[in-house]
């Protein structure tokens, strides 16, 4: 018998099963921390946001209806909390919160790759908030357009339009990188 699905665990969480919650929370905690860190630019804020999001999952579990995937619902909470946090606090530069480099590369390659990733991160950070969130949810978290729309409380066509605009802006900002990679 395989691992229980998210939805099965949520049904148990809704009945107050703390062990089910302890199984469910680790599945998305690290991804959610990464998403919140990229949205807020702060690892400390990301930890607080994910802790708050998980507590909200626990508290509101009896109200949860399996109309959308648990992951979508959870990311929606994380996105909303991140936006609230960003309204209160200034945005930290993403270079401080960037992803670590790949240790398997040689130093020169690693340096070049780090520089490329830094430019990509900076270009994404410069996007308008909703465009940035769409890029993060679809590319970083692998959500479908429909799930991203649910997470952002938007329509699928709205998400598609945001993606088109975001990628057009990214192509312009990253032209040197893209030409260099040709």
């Amino acid at each position: 018998m395989g691992d229980p699905s998210d939805e099965e665990l949520m049904r148990r969480v809704a009945e107050g099963d703390e062990r089910a919650f302890a199984l469910l929370a680790p599945r998305y905690a690290a991804r959610a921390v990464g998403l919140a860190r990229r949205l807020t630019g702060s690892s400390d804020d990301a930890e607080e946001i994910v802790q708050e999001a998980l507590l909200r999952v626990w508290i509101n579990a009896p109200r949860w209806r399996a109309e959308a995937a648990f992951r979508t619902w959870f990311y929606r909470i994380v996105v909303n909390l991140s936006l609230n946090r960003r309204r209160r606090a200034p945005f930290a530069p993403l270079t401080e919160a960037g992803d670590p480099s790949d240790p398997s590369l040689d130093p020169a390659q690693r340096l070049e790759r780090d520089e490329t990733d830094r430019q990509v991160a900076a270009a994404i950070a410069s996007l308008p908030t909703r465009q940035r969130m769409v890029i993060m949810l679809t590319y970083d978290e692998g959500l479908s357009n429909a799930d991203a729309a649910a997470a952002l409380d938007s329509s699928v066509s709205g998400v598609e339009a945001l993606l088109v605009r975001a990628k057009r802006t990214l192509r312009e900002k990253l032209r040197s990188v893209l030409d260099g990679n040709a």
């Binding site: 809704a14 107050g16 703390e18 919650f21 302890a22 929370a25 680790p26 905690a29 690290a30 991804r31 959610a32 921390v33 990464g34 860190r37 690892s43 990301a46 930890e47 994910v50 802790q51 998980l54 507590l55 626990w58 508290i59 509101n60 579990a61 009896p62 109200r63 992803d99 670590p100 790949d102 490329t116 990733d117 990509v120 991160a121 890029i135 590319y139 970083d140 978290e141 692998g142 990628k167 990214l170 192509r171 990253l174 990188v177 893209l178 990679n181 040709a182």
Partner: protein
């Protein structure tokens, strides 16, 4: 064609970025989960239907008192509907007092001497 190439390269860059999961995120997640494991989880909210909404809003009623109040109300209704007074009024030979003729019409009758109406 160039546009397609750029789009593909951009997709590749974004996908590569997505794959890179930070060990720092794993450590942060571990701290978050440890924090949650060390504190008692708060009370869950059960929805908007009675009486859960009161419980969620910390207006939890003291159930023995509510039960006593409801019992008193039911007893009062039972006495009112089926008590001794109800039996008297519904018993054989009992007729409720009732005016045979209303005095209301006299109010608008003219005075005997002057003929004035009120």
């Amino acid at each position: 064609m160039k546009h397609m190439d750029e789009t593909d390269r951009l997709d590749a860059l974004l996908a590569r970025r997505a794959k890179a999961q930070s060990p720092a995120d794993q450590a942060s997640a571990a701290r978050v989960l440890a924090n949650l494991a060390n504190v008692p989880l708060p009370r869950q909210r059960h929805g908007w239907r009675w009486p859960n909404v009161l419980l969620d809003l910390d207006f939890a009623p003291a159930w023995p008192r509510v039960a006593a109040l409801a019992g008193a109300a039911v007893l009062g209704c039972a006495i009112g509907f089926f008590g001794p007074t109800a039996r008297l009024t519904e018993g054989p030979g009992w007729t409720a007092a009732q005016a045979a003729d209303s005095d209301f019409g006299a109010v608008s009758e003219p005075e005997l001497f002057t003929g004035a109406r009120p």
